[in-house]
C-alpha cells in the first residue's frame, strides 16, 4: 500500500460516535487513483463495506464527507461531497455542496471524514488541524441550522471556522432532511439529514491552518490549473450565471426552454414567473454575490426583503431548483413568500427539492380528491397559498401530528399509502422527488433523473458522456459550473493535465473515462444488489402519459422510443446489458473483478 505523493495526504479522519473516538484511516495511492476522492471514494467504501439490504440507519452505517484531490489547491473552485446509503430511497447516494468546507478539511490535513456509530446523547465535533474534539450538542438540539452554526462559531471563537449542521428536520428523522453548510449551502440529494439525526450528530466544524496539499510538480500543475481557470473566465455563456446565479434560469426555462416545472409537473408555462424569478430578485432583492473558494462564477446571491410579511428577511436565492420547487411548482406569485418558504426549509434543514415535491404532490392529491383535509389534520393547501405551505413545512420538520408524519415520508411512500390513482402524479424516480426540470421539455435531463445513481437528481449529467464527466467532477469535487459544463468534451485533457503533475500520476485522457466508468459502475453494482435494474430507470408515469398543455414545448411528451434510445445509449456507453446490469467483461475492464460475484448473486436473487 503506497502512500500518495501529491493531491492527497493518504489519511481519512474516522469518527466513531458510539465511543466518541477518532482515528486515522489510511487510504492508499492505488485506491485514490482508482476512485479519485469525494463521490468515488465514498462509493468504494459503500460497495466494499456494505452487504445488500444494509439499513442506512444502522449504528455502523457511515457518512463519508469527501473533498477531492484538487480541493485546497490552486484549482478553480472546490466542493464537498456527502456519500451515504440513502434512507429515503434505500440506494447509494451522493450530495455535493459548495462554500469553503472542502478546502478547510484539506488544510487540516485530511482527505475526508468518515463518520460512523451512534452517540448516546446529542453531540457535535470540531476538527482543527490534527485536533478533534467531541462536544455536547444538547443545547443545540432543536435549534435551526443558522442558530447551531452561530453557536459553533461562538464556541470555537473563530468566525472563519466552517460548519455543517442538521436542523430539527434531520433530528426528527424527516426523510427530506439535509445538511446545511455555512448557513446557506445545502448537501441535500443524499437525504443525509436523518442519518446525522439518527447518529445524534448535530454537525461538525472544521478549520485547517497547518497543512498545504502536497503537489508533485508545482510548475506544471499551476500551468494546468491556470488554463482550467482561464477557460472558465472566458466563457461568455457563464455571464448569466454570474449575474443571476441559477435563478435566471427560471425565466429562461419558462419563456424559451419549456421545462420550468409548474404545479407538480402539470405544465411548464407559468407567466407569473416574472414576479418571482431571477430578474425580479435582481431588481428588488439581491444585494451581493458570494462565491465558493477560488470560484469566478459566484452564483450565490444574498438579499434582504424590504417589505411585505417577511420584511427584513436576509436570504439566499432563489436558485433555479429552490425557486422552481418552492415557486412555480407551488403556484407561488408572491416573491417574499416564496423566499420565506425556501429560507424556512434551510432553517429546518429540509431539502428544497424533496420538500417542494412533497407539498406539490399533497396539493394535487387534495385537488383530485385522493386526500381529504381530514387526512392532513385539517390542512387545505391550494396553489399559491404560502401560509399553509409554511405550516406544512413546519409540520414536516417536526413530524408533527398525522399530517407531519405522513408528509415526512416523501412522495413515493405517501402515494403508495393513499393509492387512488395518485401514482399518476407522484413525480419520483427510484423513490426520489424530481428537481425543477420537466423532462418532457428538457429530454436530455431524463438521463440525469433516471440513469444517475441518485435517482430523480438533476445534477447527474445530461447524456451518457455527461454522466461520466459528472462522476469525475463529483469525485474531484469540482463544481460542474466551473468544470465540465464549460470544458465540455475537452474535460478529459484538462483534468488529467491537472491531476498528473498534482498527484504524480500518468493518467492519459482515456483513463479519465475508464475511471469515470469504474466509479459509476461500482455505484450501479451497489444499487443492482438492492434490486435496481432497467425497470427502475424510468421517469414518472406523467412524463409518458400526459402531453405538455402549453408553453414553448407544447404537446411534448417523453415517448417509449425516447426511453429506449436513452437506455441503449447509456447501457451501451457504460457496458451494461439490456437490463442495465454491468456485464462481467465491463467489471473486469473497470478493475471491479471483486464485484462479479455480487452481481451474479443479485441477478439470481432479483431475477435479472
Amino acid at each position: 500500500m503506497a502512500a500518495p505523493k501529491g493531491g492527497n495526504f493518504g489519511k481519512v479522519l474516522e469518527i466513531d460516535l458510539s465511543t466518541l473516538t477518532y482515528k486515522t484511516r489510511p487510504v492508499s495511492e492505488e485506491i485514490l487513483q482508482q476512485y479519485i476522492g469525494g463521490r468515488g471514494l465514498g462509493a468504494y467504501y459503500a460497495v466494499t463495506e456494505y452487504k445488500a439490504g444494509k439499513n442506512p440507519l444502522d449504528e455502523d452505517a457511515f457518512v463519508f464527507v469527501g473533498p477531492g484531490p484538487l480541493s485546497g489547491t490552486m484549482s478553480v473552485s472546490y466542493r464537498t461531497c456527502f456519500v451515504n446509503k440513502n434512507p429515503l430511497t434505500g440506494l447509494l447516494s451522493h450530495a455535493e455542496t459548495g462554500a469553503h468546507l472542502a478546502g478547510e478539511i484539506k488544510w487540516a490535513g485530511w482527505d475526508g471524514i468518515y463518520i460512523k456509530g451512534r452517540a448516546k446523547k446529542p453531540v457535535w465535533f470540531s476538527v482543527v488541524n490534527d485536533k478533534v474534539e467531541f462536544k455536547d450538542a444538547s443545547k443545540m438540539w432543536g435549534k435551526t441550522t443558522e442558530e447551531a452554526h452561530a453557536m459553533m462559531i461562538s464556541d470555537m471563537k473563530d468566525p472563519l471556522i466552517r460548519t455543517a449542521v442538521i436542523g430539527p428536520a434531520g433530528e426528527n428523522g424527516a426523510l427530506q432532511a439535509n445538511i446545511i453548510v455555512e448557513r446557506y449551502r445545502a448537501a441535500s440529494r443524499s437525504n443525509v439529514g436523518p442519518v446525522f439525526g439518527n447518529k445524534k450528530l448535530k454537525g461538525f466544524a472544521v478549520r485547517g491552518t497547518k497543512y498545504a496539499v502536497p503537489v508533485v510538480d508545482s510548475a506544471n500543475f499551476l500551468t494546468a490549473a491556470r488554463t482550467a481557470k482561464t477557460t472558465n473566465v472566458q466563457k461568455e455563456a457563464w455571464e448569466g450565471i454570474k449575474r443571476w446565479g441559477t435563478g435566471g434560469l427560471l425565466e429562461l426555462k419558462h419563456f424559451l426552454h419549456g421545462s420550468l416545472i409548474t404545479k407538480n409537473f402539470q405544465t411548464t408555462w407559468y407567466p407569473d414567473i416574472v414576479n418571482i424569478g431571477g430578474e425580479e430578485a435582481a431588481r428588488r432583492f439581491w444585494k451581493r454575490h458570494a462565491a465558493c473558494t477560488n470560484c469566478p462564477t459566484h452564483c450565490l446571491k444574498l438579499g434582504v426583503l424590504r417589505d411585505g410579511k417577511y420584511k427584513g428577511l436576509v436570504a439566499e436565492g432563489p436558485e433555479y431548483e429552490s425557486g422552481g420547487l418552492m415557486g412555480s411548482n407551488l403556484g407561488m406569485k408572491d416573491f417574499g413568500q416564496m423566499i420565506a418558504l425556501i429560507e424556512a426549509c434551510d432553517a429546518y434543514g429540509l431539502d428544497n427539492i424533496s420538500t417542494g415535491g412533497t407539498l406539490a404532490f399533497v396539493t394535487e392529491a387534495l385537488e383530485k380528491g385522493a386526500l381529504k383535509p381530514a387526512d392532513l389534520d385539517g390542512l387545505k393547501p391550494k396553489w399559491g397559498d404560502g401560509d399553509t405551505y409554511m405550516e406544512m413545512i413546519r409540520r414536516i420538520a417536526h413530524k408533527e401530528g398525522k399530517a407531519g408524519k405522513f408528509m415526512a415520508q416523501g412522495v413515493a411512500k405517501m402515494s403508495k399509502q393513499i393509492g387512488k390513482g395518485s401514482e399518476a402524479y407522484a413525480n419520483v424516480v427510484k423513490g426520489r422527488e424530481l428537481a425543477a426540470h420537466d423532462p418532457r421539455g428538457d429530454k436530455i435531463r431524463a438521463y440525469s433523473y433516471t440513469m444517475g445513481t441518485n435517482g430523480g437528481d438533476h445534477h447527474e449529467g445530461q447524456g451518457s458522456k455527461a454522466l461520466a464527466m459528472t462522476a469525475m467532477a463529483d469525485s474531484l469535487c469540482m463544481c460542474t459550473f466551473t468544470s465540465i459544463l464549460v470544458w465540455g468534451a475537452g474535460s478529459d485533457k484538462i483534468v488529467t493535465d491537472m491531476l498528473n503533475p498534482l498527484c504524480g500520476w500518468a493518467m492519459k485522457p482515456e483513463d479519465y473515462w475508464t475511471t469515470a466508468k469504474r466509479i459509476i459502475t461500482a455505484e450501479r453494482v451497489f444499487n443492482v444488489r438492492e434490486g435496481v435494474s432497467s425497470k427502475d430507470d424510468r421517469l414518472p408515469k406523467r412524463m409518458y402519459a400526459e402531453k405538455l398543455p402549453a408553453g414553448p414545448k407544447k404537446n411534448a411528451v417523453f415517448t417509449d422510443e425516447d426511453q429506449k434510445k436513452m437506455e441503449a445509449d447509456t447501457y451501451g456507453f457504460f457496458g451494461w446489458d439490456a437490463k442495465g446490469i454491468p456485464t462481467e467483461a465491463t467489471l473486469k475492464a473497470c478493475g471491479l473483478d471483486y464485484l462479479i460475484a455480487d452481481v451474479n448473486a443479485a441477478r439470481k436473487k432479483h431475477n435479472l
Binding site: 499551476l222 500551468t223 491556470r226 473566465v233 459566484h298 444574498l302 428577511l313 429560507e343
Partner: protein, 248 residues
Amino acid sequence: MDEKKLPDVLQKETTRRDFLRGTATAAGGAIVLTAVGGMVPKKAEAQYSVQAVAGTAPYAQKYLFAERQNCTGCRSCELACSLFHTGTARPAMSRVWVYKHKDMIDLPVICWQCDDAPCIAACPTTPKSITRDAKTNGIVLNEKICLGAKCMKCQEACPAKYIRGNPDTGQPLICDLCGGDPQCVKACHDQAGNPQGPCLMGRPVGIGVNMAYRSVTPEEAGKDLANLLFYPNVEGKRVVSVKTKKGR
C-alpha cells in the same frame, strides 16, 4: 481573449498584466503561468524581475486599496498570496485575508501601507524586525530578529486589526506588496465577470485615503456594509417566524 469582458478602468496604460494577457492568447496561457504561478519562492530577485517585461515602471503599485462591497468572498487573494510567499496554496499563511461578518458580508482585510506605519513604530527590537522597503513601499519582516508570538506589538499597534500570526512560527504576517506587483490584485482581477468589478486594487499613490481607511477594523467595515446592503436586518438574523418547539 475579448478584453471588453474584463473591464479594467483603473489601469489605462498597457500594464504588465495586459501584456501578459495578450501573450497568453497566443501561447495558450503558458506564459502567464511562468510569470504568475510558476515562480520559485524565496528567490526574490527572480520573482520581481518580471516587472521590467511590460515596459512599465517597476514597483508601481505602492498601495493596496479594497472596494469592500465588491468582495465575493472567493478567497482567491488568500490563495495567490500564500502561493507567492510559501509556494503552496494555504490561506492561513496569506498576508491578506477575508473576514466574514454575520454570514452576510465578506470583505478583504488588507494592509493599507500606512504612511506613518504604527507597526514599525511599535516594533521593540534594535534594529527593527519590520521595516519599509524604500523602493516598493512594502513592509518587510526580518525573520531572524523578530520576537514572534511572545511580542506581537505590531499586531497590537495595527489600527486596521489586519496583522495575523504565522501559524508555524508565530511571527506576524505583513504585506510586502510582493515587491511591487501584488498577487492578490491580479487574482482578484482574474475573477472577472463580477458585475461590480474587482475588489482589490494596487495604486502608485496612497492619496491619504489609505490613512483614513486604515482605522476601520474588519468588524466595523462589516457593520458598515451590513447597514448599507442589508438594512433593516443589520444583524443578519433569520426572521422567518420559525417555531422550533412542537405544539399547536
